[in-house]
Point group: C2
Chain length 139, copies 2
């Protein structure tokens, strides 16, 4: 299989544990909403906030695209701010729908935290089926 073409293979998770990141999907959206809940802001600033949140260096493109997407969905709104030196900023505001969304997300997060606690308990030694003490050798 020297010249086998892998048309859709995801990046391999190496034996060294590379790529083993326990990140949630779509993290950016709630982080942005949470930021905007306190103060209106714009892309460039939000980017710094996001990375302060424990993210590795964010790619600008991803953030800006997410913002436009969020506006299309009605969870944020924007206006140009030009009354200043430097390039114009697109100032964002959270909408009511956005607040609702954030609340939903937060509640979902709570539930998810439990699931993770669960995972961790199992990881640190507890058996998955305590009643049925099947071990590897049993197979």
């Amino acid at each position: 299989m020297s010249q086998e073409e892998q048309k859709s293979g995801p990046e391999p998770r190496g034996p060294e544990g590379k790529g083993a990141e326990a990140r949630p999907r779509n993290w950016l959206v709630p982080v942005i909403l949470l930021s905007l809940k306190d103060w209106n802001s714009y892309g460039y600033e939000l980017m710094e906030r996001a990375s302060a949140f424990g993210f590795e260096a964010m790619n600008p493109g991803t953030l800006y695209r997410t913002l436009r997407q969020m506006e299309k969905e009605g969870i944020v709104e924007s206006t140009w701010e030009t009354s200043r030196g430097g390039p114009a900023r697109r100032m964002y505001t959270i909408t009511d729908a956005g607040k609702t969304y954030l609340d939903f997300w937060a509640r979902s997060l709570e539930q998810y935290q439990q699931t993770m606690d669960n995972f961790f308990r199992l990881y640190t030694g507890k058996s998955l089926r305590p009643d049925e003490e099947k071990k590897k050798d049993d197979v």
Copy 2:
């Protein structure tokens, strides 16, 4: 396509908070690995385990595809089990690389838990910049 053709718009996050799920990405991989750490198993059974983990109904296709992928990556291994009535099962075993990967993931999870606690603290009222009490009206 009478007026506008939306060629690649993600599903809108409605004002009702639909789709606001705080799921992690790639959850399936660590769950499978954790299961296999205790007992060898096969797809059909692992599927039940996964849903017991707090997932909504798993799609078989996704699980089986993930398993094959994981094998390609060397974090699990499989053999056919035919010594039984019923259709053959592909029995999976976790490899050393798989254990390493799981350990990495678990450590990453710990870190991530902190990030989420952080998020929650901010969400439940704390200010993001306590020193600089900028409010919305200030903008």
